[in-house]
């Protein structure tokens, strides 16, 4: 591979130099509308789309930085087989031939697809069709299994179908929002801002946050319940019992539209019948608990929104149902401003669910176990066969691969070596697998290292199709960039392989054609909205809420013009619908109180309480919680390219309570090894993430491409929810120990450097440089010689500036080439290294001034006060020191005043919770 250089990255070619393209953000499940345009310098501008109903023109920092991630640096541009570049024909033959041979020898269950919520609905649709209708196995699972499959299972148990009843507007209409296991401020920033603005307009609106961590989201909360990890079912069973005891129920609704209350109540009363025991189980005060229960009891319009803190649990499905139960008891569902609300993690998790791209679904919200559904799908496809039993879910799939039962796996748009639990097991599995195919946009990933065949796919801005967000809103992702190299859309690659395997039914002349088939399948055997839900004979019918019949028959142009729309979209809502009459979607479900179980009712689901699978022990005394940070996405293949996004949290960290750090013998700012029974990693210890005693938090993003040893997946216990198969990412017993190093350091370099021989390193993208945080154990090394070799500056005539304090173990050097700084290194036996911020600013200078050279090895400008501290507002690059100084000096009282002074928080607003925190911190120190 050519060395990565940071100053001559290749930019992709725009399709049009002038047009602005409306598309959809590829990150979280909020699904914001984005407008992309080309700047005269070839870079790309992205802005929020004010016409998009999900974000109304707002964009978070990740979305704002999309322009920094579309360059072609590191892209997989050509097919490869066994590490060699080949033509598409050879690659497709290898894939089709390999799959065919294994199916012929070992049967269809010996092959599998592992796909992603990053795929577009059209990609997903053909992948699912290939496996379930043609190969004849349901061995297609997705990284959405890791994300919201518990919500899916909970929805199905309660409603008979995977349905999210509410929409974003309901958040604004609610009088109370309960956020459970959701750091919305960081993970769904635009949704959080909608909540924040609603609360600003109506301060009486209550926000309750339920999370073991005191996250940025809590800054806005009226009440934070820091429940013990994994005790959500106690909490909501307790709520159900409390509501019932106090007669807070909609008896008419319960009687007419639900079933199963008695058993559910019995379990709830039994497990969580009194407030004191619930408070004890959840490790919160009785007063706080009662406050929550009373608030919930007296507020009619309440939304309970939940994310990974609920889903990623061995009791995830029960947690979801325990929440839904409370809404069913009170009849708070199907009306504006109320309902349970699963906020999904990925841009197209919902789209994947619509097409059935999970091992336990069939297609278009139809079930594998339902013969009628199978008939509908098989005859609609005209396929030779139809899978009739569930396939392997993610964790089981990779176990089956290691066991040799599955011999070929095709991974698309995901990075399981990083993201699955017990991720070292995934390495073992892939290294044993006969045929590993990976479709990706990035060449070097932890997973691609194991692939026999690499297929270059299209990335955001290049691909074309639809995604569905958390409120069932289907939005177009439109292309504005030319396909780079030989990359192709995933749906095309899948169809090509299918054809080469001899299957018919994969002749599409565009994504509009795929979408049309998908829409028609959603309508197949599905009667019109509002017309009964039982056949004349009282048998269960094929009726599904998921219905896109109103979108059937779109031409390519109509599909291109499709505005964001929430399903169900029914032709009957538009009489004699000649599309494109403004399509009418459905903002809210269950307004008619009809549910999709055979009995047409919503089901209470009894939820016995169950502790997380693995309890902490003497050997592993702490509980590992994992999650996202504000400015990174998944395994960083894209966000890792953005200097703007690297500013917020540059390094992998383990956040823990200071007292636990003391007990574990580690210190903030230093490195620690975090280990579980399954694996270990090394990260920098920090406090301040609001972590309760007994818990630690490690972000999910870092991997071998960005750090020597930071894959948290390798630690996570491979325990799954028995219903949903979703892994327990939020609860793994671990221990934290000192990771002893003899020196600490960092490097800023314009070129990518070989760090493999360094004990510990992490790489951070900067503006025109790469930053490496490093640490080592070799005390006797000649640091000057090491650094010169690392930088390729062995020439004694090189413009090499150095500083050494050998006894203190301090070495600093910089290489200047043609008056520009090329690289610099700072090392010390203590972690007392200078701020990187000012040094970083030197890399954008075309010429170093004399005064810069003077300060270079101090790491500080000669003038004082120029160090702005770690970035808080990434949009305007405003640092913590600057903000704190302004709060103090200008006596600022509100975040709006900070924005007025410094602009910070004025663009994407993602940092507003942190600004709030700084306000109170500064005030606290002033008071002291």
């Amino acid at each position: 591979m050519l060395p990565r250089t940071t100053h001559d990255v290749t930019l992709p070619a725009p399709l049009s130099a002038t047009a602005t393209t409306a598309t959809t953000c590829p990150y979280c499940g909020v699904g914001c509308g984005v407008k992309a345009s080309v700047r005269p310098d070839g870079q790309f501008d992205v802005a929020g789309d004010e016409k998009h109903g999900s974000n109304h023109g707002r964009l978070c920092v990740k979305g704002s930085a999309l322009g920094e991630t579309v360059d072609l640096q590191g892209r997989l541009l050509y097919p490869q087989v066994d590490g060699q570049r080949v033509g598409w024909d050879d690659a497709l033959d290898r894939v089709a031939g390999g799959l065919r041979r294994i199916i012929d020898q070992h049967g269809p269950e010996a092959v599998a697809l592992y796909v992603s919520g990053q795929l577009l609905t059209e990609d997903y649709y053909v992948a699912n069709k290939l496996m379930k209708g043609y190969v004849g196995t349901a061995n297609i699972d997705t990284n959405s299994r890791l994300c919201m499959s518990s919500a899916v299972a909970g929805h199905k148990r309660a409603f008979g179908e995977d349905l999210v009843p509410v929409c974003y507007e309901d958040l604004e209409q609610a009088d109370m929002i309960v956020l459970v296991g959701s750091n919305t401020a960081w993970c769904h920033p635009i949704l959080f801002q909608r909540i924040a603005r609603a609360k600003e307009a109506r301060p009486e609106m209550k926000l309750v946050v339920i999370d073991p961590r005191r996250t940025a989201t809590c800054e806005l909360a009226d009440l934070h319940l820091p429940v013990r990890a994994g005790t959500d079912v106690w909490l909501f069973n307790g709520l159900l019992s409390f509501l019932h005891q106090h007669g807070v129920m909609d008896t008419g609704f319960v009687e007419r539209h639900t079933t199963g209350l008695a058993r559910t109540m019995a379990i709830a009363d039994n497990t969580a019948g009194d407030v004191r025991s619930v408070a004890r189980a959840c490790k919160i005060t009785e007063a706080d608990l009662l406050e929550f229960y009373r608030l919930f009891a007296r507020t009619e319009k309440v939304i309970t929104a939940f994310s990974m803190g609920v889903n990623q649990s061995s009791a995830g499905t029960d947690k979801v149902n325990s929440i839904i139960n409370c809404h069913l008891l009170t009849g708070r569902i199907g009306r504006p401003g109320m309902g349970p609300f699963s906020i999904t993690g990925q841009p197209n998790a919902m789209g994947g669910r619509e097409v059935g791209g999970l091992a336990n679904m069939l297609a278009a919200h139809m079930d594998l176990g339902n013969a009628k559904h199978r008939d509908i799908v098989k005859s609609f496809w005209g396929s030779p066969r139809i899978a009739d039993k569930p396939g392997l879910k993610a964790v089981d799939l990779f176990r089956a691969i290691e066991a040799g039962k599955v011999k070929a796996v095709w991974i698309m748009a995901t990075n399981p070596v990083v993201s699955l639990p017990d991720a070292d097991q995934v390495k073992r599995a892939l290294s044993k697998c006969e045929l590993v195919i990976s479709s990706d946009i990035i060449e070097k990933t932890d997973t691609n290292a194991y692939a026999h065949v690499l297929l270059p796919a299209l990335g955001w801005g290049e691909k074309d199709g639809t995604v569905t967000n958390s409120e069932r809103r289907i939005s177009r992702q439109r292309r504005f960039l030319a396909a780079p190299g030989e990359a192709r859309g995933d749906w095309q690659i899948i169809c090509d392989v299918a054809r080469r395997m001899g299957y018919e039914g994969f002749e599409f002349d565009g994504t509009h054609a795929v979408f049309d088939e998908h829409a028609r399948l959603s309508a197949a055997g599905n009667r019109e909205w509002g017309i009964g839900n039982r056949s004349e004979h009282g048998e269960p019918t094929a009726l599904r809420a998921f219905n896109l019949s109103g979108l059937v028959g779109m031409t390519r142009e109509q599909f291109d013009a499709l505005p964001p729309i929430q399903w169900p979209v029914l032709s009957s809502t538009i009489p004699d619908s000649p599309f494109p009459i403004p399509a009418v979607g459905t903002a809210r479900l269950f307004e008619d109180n009809r549910y999709y179980h055979a009995d047409g009712k919503a089901h209470f689901v009894p939820t016995p309480v169950r502790a997380p699978a693995h309890a902490s022990s003497e050997e592993f005394p702490l509980v590992l919680n994992t999650g996202r940070v504000r400015d990174q996405w998944h395994t960083m293949t894209r966000t890792g390219k953005s200097p703007k996004l690297a500013d917020h949290i540059p390094e992998p960290f383990v956040d823990m309570h200071p007292q636990d750090a003391l007990v574990s013998g580690v210190r903030a700012g230093e490195l620690a090894r975090v280990s579980s029974r399954w694996g270990s990693l090394v990260a920098r210890v920090q406090h301040g993430g609001g972590i309760p005693r007994g818990n630690v938090f490690v972000p999910i993003h870092w991997n071998a491409q960005f750090a020597s040893d930071a894959r948290v997946g390798s630690l996570v216990n491979p325990v799954v929810d028995p219903v949903s198969g979703e892994p327990e990412f939020k609860h793994t017993p671990v221990r934290v120990e000192e990771f002893r190093v003899l020196w600490h350091g960092f490097v800023l370099s314009r070129r990518e450097l070989q760090m493999e021989s360094t004990t510990w390193w992490t790489r951070i993208q900067g503006r025109q440089f790469l930053r490496y945080e490093i640490a080592g154990r070799d005390k006797s090394m000649d640091r000057g010689a090491w650094a010169r070799q690392l930088f390729g500056a062995e020439d004694p005539e090189a413009d090499w500036i150095e500083y050494e304090d050998r006894t203190a173990g301090v070495y600093r050097a910089a290489l200047v080439v043609g008056d520009r700084i090329e690289c610099c290194v700072f090392m010390s036996s203590r972690p007392d290294l200078p701020s990187r911020a000012w040094l970083a600013s030197l890399f954008v200078k075309e010429q170093l001034e004399e005064i810069d050279r003077v300060g270079l090895l101090v790491g500080e400008p000669v003038e004082k006060g120029a160090d702005t501290g770690p970035t808080v507002c990434s949009c305007f690059g405003v640092g913590r020191n600057t903000i704190c100084a302004a709060i103090r000096d200008r006596n600022l009282k509100t975040t709006a005043e900070i924005t007025g002074c410094l602009k910070a928080g004025g663009n994407c607003g993602s940092c507003v919770p942190e600004l709030k925190k700084l306000l109170s911190e500064v005030r606290a120190t002033e008071a002291a």
């Binding site: 413009d799 500036i801 500083y803 050494e804 304090d805 006894t807 203190a808 050279r853 090895l857 000669v862």
Partner: protein, 408 residues
């Protein structure tokens, strides 16, 4: 006028002796009847500034410290150009070359040092001189008017200043140095290498590891021959290979001498009536060549001459600045260091900057600065005050500007 005041006789009209007298006058101007003998026929001048005189940057008048008028005003009898040749300690009388005999109650020896002339064949040829006094400067200036090739033997502080001066006077100058680096008593090797490069850029020719075998010439020097047989042309040879304390007089008077006149912490010799200051003294094991410690000696000695027995001479670190225009060089204290010392080093060859501080137990003990010497005085202060620099250590070498906000 017959006076009953005690008599102080000063042997040596140089910087050390006269500074002592000045200090004494400040304390008790009328205590002694003072007589000063000087070998040179001048008033007292600043010998350190001979280099700028040679370089044409200053005149002799500019460097005069005490004129004859000053002596008269202060009631001091000056015998300039009349060296003392004998001390009769039992009779407490000094004898001058002129035959003058002056009795003393207190005697101050400030005989200074004399240049070391390497005794190679030809060292007595005309055109071979040292660099010690105004006479030498005048000889060099004259040579520069009539001759082309100058050779300076000895690449120490003095030699380089002489070489620079001669270069400025238009001569082609070679510096011949027996060691492998210049100014090895003030610089470490990296700084010396930077200095060599800078001087070469100015036009000096510098020959290191060069052993002079012979100074060649029929009746005046014409060339210098090395031990390896090679020769370079020379019309003028300046010997700056060090100095030797001028102690013949003291030794012949039976004063205790080692390498120089032994003095105690009050600058008193083994004869309680005789004091000594300056380059001719040895205090403990140390000899002195730089001005700062000599000023200290003068102050202490004057206090004792005045009868205020309260001060002691304590050796302090010293600092040196090379007076060569365009070369910034500063060294102070013990920059060689030892097994217990620690080094802070910074190199920026492109900017021509080299800095090194030697630390011992969180104190600065030595500094070598090249190219960027503005913090020299500050480091020297830290050395002298024995300031604990633990807090400043990570920024220390980058200068006072980076340290002060923290120190405050």
């Amino acid at each position: 006028m017959i006076t009953s005041k005690p008599r102080l006789v000063v042997v040596g009209n140089g910087m050390a002796g006269m500074r002592t007298v000045e200090e004494l006058l400040k304390l008790l101007p009328d205590l002694y009847d003072i007589t000063v003998f000087g070998a040179e026929p001048h008033g007292n001048y600043n010998r350190i500034l001979l280099s700028p005189v040679l370089a044409g940057e200053k005149t002799v008048d500019d460097i005069m410290l005490n004129t004859r008028q000053w002596y008269a005003q202060n009631g001091i009898t000056l015998h300039a150009g009349d060296p003392v040749v004998k001390i009769d300690r039992p009779r407490r009388t000094v004898y001058a070359q002129s035959g003058l005999a002056i009795p003393y109650d207190r005697l101050l020896l400030a005989t200074g040092s004399k240049p070391f002339i390497i005794p190679v064949p030809g060292h007595q040829l005309p055109g071979v001189i040292a660099f010690r006094d105004i006479q030498d400067v005048e000889t060099m200036l004259a040579a520069a008017r009539h001759h082309r090739h100058a050779v300076v033997i000895g690449g120490g502080l003095l030699g380089l200043e002489a070489a620079n001066g001669l270069l400025r006077q238009g001569m082609e100058v070679s510096v011949v140095h027996v060691n492998d680096c210049l100014m090895e008593r003030q610089l470490d090797k990296p700084a010396a290498a930077l200095l060599k490069a800078a001087l070469e850029r100015k036009g000096l020719r510098i020959l290191l590891n060069a052993n002079t075998a012979e100074i060649v010439g029929p009746d005046r020097v014409t060339a210098l021959r090395f031990k390896d047989g090679s020769e370079i042309p020379a019309d003028l040879v300046v010997m700056t290979a060090g100095v030797r304390p001028n102690i013949d007089l003291a030794r012949s008077a039976g004063l205790q001498c080692d390498r120089a006149i032994m003095v105690d912490d009050t600058l008193q010799s083994f004869d309680p009536r005789i004091y000594a200051v300056g380059e001719c003294v040895q205090h403990r094991k140390a000899l002195f060549g730089l001005v700062a410690p000599i000023w200290d000696q003068a102050r202490v000695c004057a206090a004792h001459l005045a009868g205020f027995g309260h001060s002691r001479y304590v050796q302090q670190a010293t600092a040196t600045k090379l007076k060569v225009t365009g070369v910034d060089l500063y060294s102070a204290g013990d920059f060689i260091g030892d097994a217990d010392s620690e080094d802070l080093v910074m190199r920026d060859p492109r900017r021509g900057v080299y800095k090194r501080l030697v630390l011992k137990g969180n104190r600065v003990t030595g500094a070598v600065l090249y190219g960027d010497v503005k913090d020299g005085p500050w480091y020297f202060e830290l050395i002298q005050n024995k300031t604990d620099i633990a807090e400043l250590r990570s920024r220390l070498l980058f200068g006072q500007a980076y340290c002060e906000p923290r120190a405050a």
